[in-house]
Amino acid sequence: MVKVYGAGGFRGLEAYQSGFLFSPEGHILTAYTTVLDTTMLRVVLDDGRRFDAELLGADARLDVAVLKIDAQGLPCLRLDAAADAEAGAPVLALSNMFGVATGNEPVSVQQGAIAIVTDLDARRGTFEIPYKGRVYILDAVTNNPGAAGGAVVTWDGRLLAMLGKELRNTRNNTWINYALPISVLRPSVDAILAGEQSVAGGDHGRPKAARPLTPRALGLILVPDVVPRTPPYVDSVLAGSPASRAGLRPDDLIVFLDDALVPSCRTLREELEYRDHFEVVRLTVLRDRELVEVELSAEGKESRP
């Protein structure tokens, strides 16, 4: 385990984080954060030795980075020996949380378990990172300043995952304790080591459509959007529109667009902005205590005589 020092030090932005050696030649896996936004990166090993470090590359999609220090024969956690774990597995999390370890002090160790193995919610805006894939949610409070880049290991010391950067779940306003499985990080690390990836840009998902769908194009007039979370009730249905042909009615409450929950008029409009005007969409509405599912295609409207 190593302590990484770099840019930051401003209010709310720590200038330190965690990392771990994965080769005897000084390759270090860590989180890709603003701490690495400097040419003056310094790494401190747990025996107190200090090294200047070089950023070999990073993958902004996974927020993972590889550093290199000039050394030989270092103890390390090998990525090819990493394991996968199931929910409930007891784990240890090692990190320099709150920067409590300095000099030759080893990082802090927490115990806990894997609360669930799940995918980060793919719904837009839920998490402020681009990655939407598999993570371990930990039953341990690991979401701490400086913990990003720490290692999650089994009780017998097998590497499982890397602690992610501090992350808020915007759907319930909680900080989330998560770690990225090594099996997810491997391809990125290999690409960085092969020099194929220096600093890859984030994939921010699907772009907005050039000519997006709108509720009106589907023949839906929603209730006036007056509060931040106006429920998406249908106010009226345009005659002869896709919505009318699909049998939608005033007072239907739209609850799903395809598989995405739409808690408000605003979310519905935003979600539609990612769909082209010719796309077929599936709406689920709540009507008289029943869920009704319909398919709508705005294209049909244009073919109307």
Partner: protein, 469 residues
């Protein structure tokens, strides 16, 4: 020989210590998984649509959140915080991915539980509930939610930290409790439900109190017995509220000192039960009490509509009071009889009427100045203060009976107390005195009931302000 025995003893001791450490110290992860698997089919995901975006200034998440099946007929409980923003639609997602709309049946605002109902084709799987009196501090506690993934529950492990927390309403656990599992069950290692995870705070009754403690190592769960009792009541569709008594205590009493009543709110359950100022409460229900906290502990668990028997010391006697608690205390409305009584005290019987306000209940009952009110509801009136206090304990609209004595006769009149005027009359009567040319002097008064200052003009030689009260 002796040495051998000793050695054996040491080995045995070591073995015992080792075995105990295994049992107590290390989380039994496999047993946890088995316990979770037992309850998992009953743990559902909840999604909501619409609703306000904040409560008391704090942003409200849009979920998803967790619920627990409590009745095969389609009843599901959750934490009331999930519905405090009054969503337009509630959807239950079962572990197999099936979605169904749900109705909010009723809310227990005291224990922060919401009861939902879904229409069902087949019975829902109901978990096993643990006996609450079997729960021990230190036993393993498993918090289960379904907030991340509909196919898989999320699990946090800890122990039961305390019983009877939050004024006896909750168990405390150090397992991570947060919006990720509010509304889900707290289990024992056998997979039995010991409680329902909810945000709560001993400091506040607010709907969202306790959320600030998420993942802190201080989590609360409503124990199964309280939960199931509340569910049975909630099924009737009636919201449950904390029961209020309507007494206040001096500030000093809150910290220490005997629970002596400072005031009894008019028309409150306490007043109807006959509790009075300066009574010292000594027993609530089956519990002897010597401090305010003990009274609060007894009352906080009870609901509006519950009846409670109290004993209080009044002087040398002990009085028994039976009060039916209410959800909210009525604001006091002053009843109006419509007479100005004589000032001061006299040796004469009752109270001399000095003036009768036109259009008042007294005027309608044909009481005239010069008559004396000698009894109210068949109890003698000892003076103006007595009359005022006893009338004030009624509310507008109450019927009272007065015994009125004139010069020669004595009669009984029934009348209905009025409410004090809440609107200004269109025409104010001409003041009897021209303020500019007032013969006396002007003084300022502030009346306890009203924020405004009033000015009174006193005749020359009027001795003091105190007399006009």
């Amino acid at each position: 020989m002796t040495r051998q025995v000793r050695l054996t003893a040491v080995v045995l001791t070591l073995l015992c210590v080792h075995a105990a450490a295994e049992e107590v110290g290390v989380v039994p992860h496999e047993a946890v998984q088995e316990a979770v698997a037992k309850v998992a089919p009953s743990v559902v995901q909840i999604e909501t649509v619409g609703g306000t975006d904040e409560i008391d200034g704090l942003p409200v998440g849009t979920g998803p959140t967790t619920g627990l099946v409590v009745d095969a007929k389609g009843y599901i409980v959750s934490s009331s915080i999930h519905f405090a923003n009054l969503p337009s639609g509630i959807l239950i997602r079962f572990p197999d991915g099936r979605r169904q709309p749900a109705q909010l049946v009723a809310t227990d605002h005291n224990r922060k539980i919401a009861l939902l109902k879904v229409e069902i084709d087949s019975p829902l799987p109901v978990p096993t509930f643990a006996q609450t009196d079997s729960v021990r501090v230190g036993q393993w506690a498993i918090a289960v939610g379904r907030a991340f993934d509909v196919e898989r529950p999320n699990v946090a492990v800890g122990i039961v930290s305390a019983l009877n927390r939050v004024w006896g309403k909750a168990l405390q656990t150090d397992a991570a409790v947060s919006p990720n599992n509010y509304g889900g069950p707290l289990l024992n290692l056998r997979g039995e439900v010991v409680g329902l995870l909810v945000p709560m705070s001993p400091m506040s009754d607010e709907e969202i109190a306790g959320v600030e403690w998420y993942d802190s190592g201080i989590g609360f769960a409503v124990p199964s017995d309280g939960l199931l009792q509340a569910v049975e009541q909630l099924k009737a569709g009636q919201d449950l509220y904390a029961g209020r008594l309507g007494v206040t205590f001096a500030k000093s009493v809150a910290m220490s000192g005997p629970p002596v009543v400072r005031s009894v709110l008019p028309n409150s359950p306490a007043e109807k039960a006959g509790l009075r100022k300066d009574d010292r409460i000594v027993r609530v229900g089956d519990t002897n009490v010597t401090r305010l906290a003990e009274i609060r502990y007894e009352l906080a668990r009870r609901y509006a509509g519950d009846t409670i028997v109290m004993l209080a010391r009044r002087g040398d006697e002990t009085v028994k009071c039976e009060a039916t608690l209410v959800a909210s205390l009525e604001p006091y409305r002053c009843p109006v009889l419509g007479v100005l009584p004589q000032r001061g005290t006299t040796q004469d019987e009752g109270v001399l009427v000095r003036l009768v306000l036109p259009g008042s209940p007294a005027a309608e009952a044909k009481i005239v100045p010069g008559e004396r009110i000698v009894a109210l509801d068949d109890r003698p009136v000892s003076g103006a203060d007595d009359l005022r206090n006893r009338v004030a304990r009624h509310k507008p609209g109450d019927k009272i009976a007065l015994d009125v004595a004139g010069e020669q006769d004595r009669r009984k009149v029934d009348l209905t107390l009025a409410a004090s005027a809440t609107t200004l009359p269109d025409d104010l009567p001409t003041p009897p005195i021209d303020p500019e040319a007032a013969p006396g002097r002007a003084i300022s008064l502030s009346l306890p009931e009203w924020k405004n200052q009033v000015t009174a003009y006193l005749p020359k030689g009027y001795p003091s302000v105190a007399q006009i009260h």
